[in-house]
């Protein structure tokens, strides 16, 4: 039982940053980021390479790269397209292009092989009669911290208010003196950092390679949709449902059917509650 719970939670912990990233961008720019998989794989490979001498510098460098890439993605691909009035589906295609470019960079800079980031905490702990890697627990704690931090940022500061306003109606927000463009960049930067964190988590627990980019993308998208696009609460809930669903499928049905399990959950949610399981009045409006 405890082993199931830990596995489900650590799967969720990897998904949480990815889902938040997708959800945030959808809320602020109306874009579904199809480049998520490319970002993740880049993060894993970059962190593995840059951490070779010192884990800490590696992580910091990777996080910085995520922030830069997120911002760049907005400035290069999204902003010019928005100005031309390209509709949401076109912007989504643009993110797919960015994902392909990142895959190319990953291949040329870090090689195409699966990359593994050495655990930040080595060794293992025993809870009851279940033994697990310390790293696994660390990732769960870090994901929880990240959620807490983002909650404070988006729900308890003026930045969060402004971001909500921009998400709602950029024109109106700028009439009230909010620099909408800056806040949109901020959202992309935060989203870039989040998706990079998810990629690093995945690389410390398992491995990432360019081949799994589409799979990670679908995890993130499905998690976001079942939780309800657009709220932090929905993102965490969606990631949790996805994590639990995949773990239970492994345990009780058959291993190796994660995507199938997610598709079934997704289809059920879209039929029963298309707005997402964790979308309620009041939370839906928050970033």
């Amino acid at each position: 039982m405890i082993s199931l719970a830990i596995t489900a939670l650590s799967t969720t912990a990897v998904l949480v940053p990815l889902v938040i990233s997708v959800s945030l961008l959808f809320r602020v720019s109306g874009v579904v980021n199809f480049g998520t998989g490319g970002f993740c794989v880049f993060a894993g490979a970059a962190c593995a390479t840059w951490s070779a001498s010192n884990a800490f510098t590696g992580v910091v460098l990777t996080l910085l790269a995520g922030a830069v890439l997120g911002g760049l993605c907005y400035l290069v691909a999204i902003y010019p397209a928005q100005r031309q009035g390209v509709p949401a589906i076109g912007l989504t295609l643009a993110t797919l292009g960015v994902g392909l470019l990142l895959t190319f960079l990953t291949r040329t800079w870090f090689g195409g092989e699966p990359s593994i980031v050495q655990p930040w905490l080595s060794g293992s702990v025993t809870i009851g009669d279940y033994q697990t890697a310390r790293q696994r627990l660390l990732v769960i704690v870090l994901a929880a911290l990240l959620v807490g931090l983002l909650y404070l940022l988006f729900d308890r500061t003026l930045i969060g208010r402004a971001l909500t306003a921009v998400a709602h109606d950029p024109e109106l927000a700028s009439m009230y003196g909010i620099r909408a463009r800056r806040f949109e960049i901020l959202a992309w930067v935060v989203s870039g950092v989040c998706v990079i964190i998810g990629g690093m988590f995945q690389a410390t627990l398992a491995s990432v390679s360019v081949d799994v980019a589409p799979t990670l993308l679908v995890y993130a998208l499905v998690g976001a949709v079942i939780g309800g696009l657009g709220s932090l609460f929905g993102a965490v809930g969606g990631a949790l449902i996805a994590g639990i669903g995949m773990t239970l499928t492994d345990e009780y049905i058959q291993t190796g059917y994660h995507l199938t399990a997610l598709f079934v959950i997704l289809s059920l949610v879209l039929v029963v509650r298309p707005q997402g399981l964790f979308t309620f009045r009041g939370t839906a409006e928050r970033v």
């Binding site: 390209v86 643009a94 292009g97 392909l100 993308l217």
Partner: protein
């Protein structure tokens, strides 16, 4: 009503997008389009037959054309971003091979069965996703594609797991083996591609193409002319599924070795790129797209396998720099050279002609002397959450009546019309046509029973010509089935001709003859209103509900509407007229209902009703 004007302008803003080439103006029906594709195929076959590499490229390109055409059909024409097409393609490949190996079937039978399987699978995906918007649909179909790939990869016998399937038998044709990579196989592919190209041409020029474009640009329009958007959608899924399956079958027997990995995300990206680069929604889009992609592939081979780089940059440039892809650019160039550039067109003015009543095309709704038909609304109630928008409203209209529905903004007039046509859910009361209940019916079924409507902001299909916009309605009325339309049977040709003549007649009645072949997107607001009314008349309605037909019109256009309403009544059609123009209401209506806050506060002949103080209070504020 400036808000509705703005809204409609936004609807019709020139479509500067990566999708939606539109491109149905200048419907190709002449012989170059019939013999062109076969000529290209024959020329390519002859030119490459001596060189193994070029022959390989030509065959691969021909197969890619089929796949791209399939995605163009569903996304370019139908506007459905169905990403599962990639696994449909793979399924076609594996199914045909499995049937041949496992059941010792001939290639031909296995192909037919594989196409049925892929078409059925495609329809199956369509069913649960019918209410999703395009982004959600993209997510769901992508998830489906990966999930099905996961399931298939675990079915060793079918896909060979991670190893793949070897020793694929070659098709045999009267004793000749058509082995993949040799000229004989190219000719097999060429025949298939020729058939697909001809199929696409026929879809493009027939009512099926019109319906698909309407599905993309405005599903509500389809429902309002009595065509079920849902079945049009299923048709798009089924047809494109079968075409993707055919591409898969050809691909498997061309490669002779297949593995699941081939049908991956990168192949999908390449497919999207080819479709949009070529020009989504254009007949020749897939051709250009496949050629362009082939050039890009050769380039990336030259620059050390940088396929992701080339595709990534390609996608970004596409999104930013192109509208309608290559086909769209060519179309614009041709228009510029021939001086037929599209620009916004002026409003209708009298030009010395009086507004004409409708003559040619409208038929009498009820036979003279027969009993009138009756549309009756009793105690109807519509609620949105706690707000009651329509509160126990009862009205009755007979054929030949013109009934006005007036009241301040927010009184519930449009909601009442929506309730009658099945657009919103009714909370209580009854709604009958000649005694039969209309409650719970979908809009297209209400329309088919003879109740047409127009919208407050005119809903037309911007990328179709005015004539085509009218013909959509004709398709619904007496159209031949899609099989007949695609087969171009004598019956469908006759119906097409009749529909066309009728539509032209109606356009003439509305003084729109000169613009019949111009796109709706370039027309001013008033013209669109007239087109919407004309489209309804194509359906021979017994009742027509007009939602503010006079708003935002020029003087001449308004006279045209008034003349139309008069002749509708002469033709024994029942009219429900919502408008704020008192002159129009008083001159046209036999009876008026006044709505305020969802309730009927007065009814009777116009003069009598307007004399009452409650009505004045509702409109002008208290007078006393």
């Amino acid at each position: 009503m400036s808000s509705t004007v703005n809204e409609s302008k936004a609807d019709l803003a020139p479509l500067r997008t990566v999708k939606r080439g539109g491109g149905r103006a200048g419907v190709p029906r002449s012989w170059p389009h019939v013999v062109g594709p076969p000529l290209i195929l024959v020329a390519a076959g002859l030119a490459t037959s001596g060189n193994e590499y070029y022959l390989h490229l030509a065959t691969a390109a021909a197969i890619a054309y089929v796949l791209t055409a399939s995605f163009n059909l569903i996304y370019g024409y139908g506007g459905i971003f169905n990403l599962s097409i990639i696994i449909t393609y793979g399924l076609g490949a594996f199914t045909s091979v499995w049937l041949e190996v496992r059941f010792d079937m001939s290639f031909w039978l296995a192909t037919v069965l594989a196409l049925l399987v892929t078409a059925a699978l495609s329809v199956l995906i369509a069913l649960p996703s019918s209410t999703l918007n395009e982004l959600f649909l993209a997510i769901q179909t992508l998830a489906f594609a990966l999930a099905l790939a996961e399931v298939l990869s675990n079915w060793d016998e079918f896909t060979g797991g991670t190893v793949g399937i070897y020793l694929i038998p070659s098709p045999s044709f009267f004793g000749t083996d058509l082995i993949g990579g040799l000229p004989a196989f190219y000719w097999l592919t060429a025949v298939a591609v020729g058939l697909v190209a001809e199929l696409m041409r026929r879809i493009h020029r027939s009512g099926v193409g019109r319906r698909l474009v309407a599905l993309r640009e405005g599903p509500r329009v389809l429902a309002s002319v009595g065509v079920s958007p849902a079945s049009t959608r299923l048709l798009a899924f089924g047809l494109s599924g079968a075409m993707a399956g055919l591409a898969g079958v050809l691909f498997a027997h061309f490669q002779l070795v297949i593995e699941l990995e081939t049908f991956n995300f990168n192949r999908l990206a390449a497919l999207l790129l080819a479709t949009i680069l070529g020009g989504a929604g254009y007949l020749y889009g897939p051709l250009f797209g496949v050629l362009a992609l082939m050039v890009m592939d050769e380039l990336s081979l030259a620059t050390s396998q940088a396929q992701d780089l080339i595709y990534g940059v390609g996608v970004l440039v596409l999104v930013l720099a192109t509208r309608g892809g290559i086909a769209g650019a060519i179309e614009r160039l041709v228009r510029r050279l021939t001086g037929r550039r599209r620009r916004p067109e002026p409003e209708l003015t009298a030009d010395g002609h009086p507004a004409t009543p409708i003559r040619a095309a409208a038929r009498d709704a009820a036979p003279p002397g027969g009993p009138p038909r009756e549309l009756e609304v009793r105690d109807l109630r519509v609620a949105f959450g706690g707000t009651v928008a329509v509160d126990d409203v009862s009205i009755a209209v007979r054929t030949g009546d013109v009934v006005g529905l007036i009241g301040p903004n927010g009184a519930g007039k449009t909601t009442l019309l929506n309730a009658i046509t099945g657009d919103v859910r009714v909370a209580g009361g009854s709604l009958t046509l000649d005694g039969g209940s209309l409650l719970g019916m979908r809009q297209q079924d209400v329309v088919r029973r003879g109740v047409g409507r127009t919208f407050q902001s005119p809903k037309v299909i911007p990328e179709l010509t005015l004539l085509e916009n009218l013909m959509i309605a004709g398709d619904a009325r007496g159209g031949a089935g899609w099989v007949r339309q695609v087969a171009n049977s004598p019956r469908s040709r006759r119906i097409e001709r009749e529909t066309r003549e009728r539509a032209l007649g109606l356009l003439a009645d509305f003084s729109l003859s000169s613009r019949a072949h111009h796109r709706a997107a370039d027309q001013p607001y008033g013209v669109l209103r007239l087109v919407e009314v004309a489209r309804n008349l194509m359906l021979d309605p017994a009742f027509i509900l007009l939602d503010e037909p006079g708003a935002g019109l020029t003087e001449f256009e308004r006279e045209e509407i008034a003349a139309t309403i008069r002749s509708l009544s002469e033709r024994q059609i029942g009219v429900v007229l919502v408008d704020h123009n008192m002159l129009l209401i008083t001159s046209a209506c036999d009876r008026v209902y006044v709505l305020d806050a969802g309730r009927v506060i007065a009814e009777g002949p116009p003069a009598e009703v307007f004399a009452r103080s409650a009505v004045r209070a509702a409109y002008l504020g208290a007078v006393e």
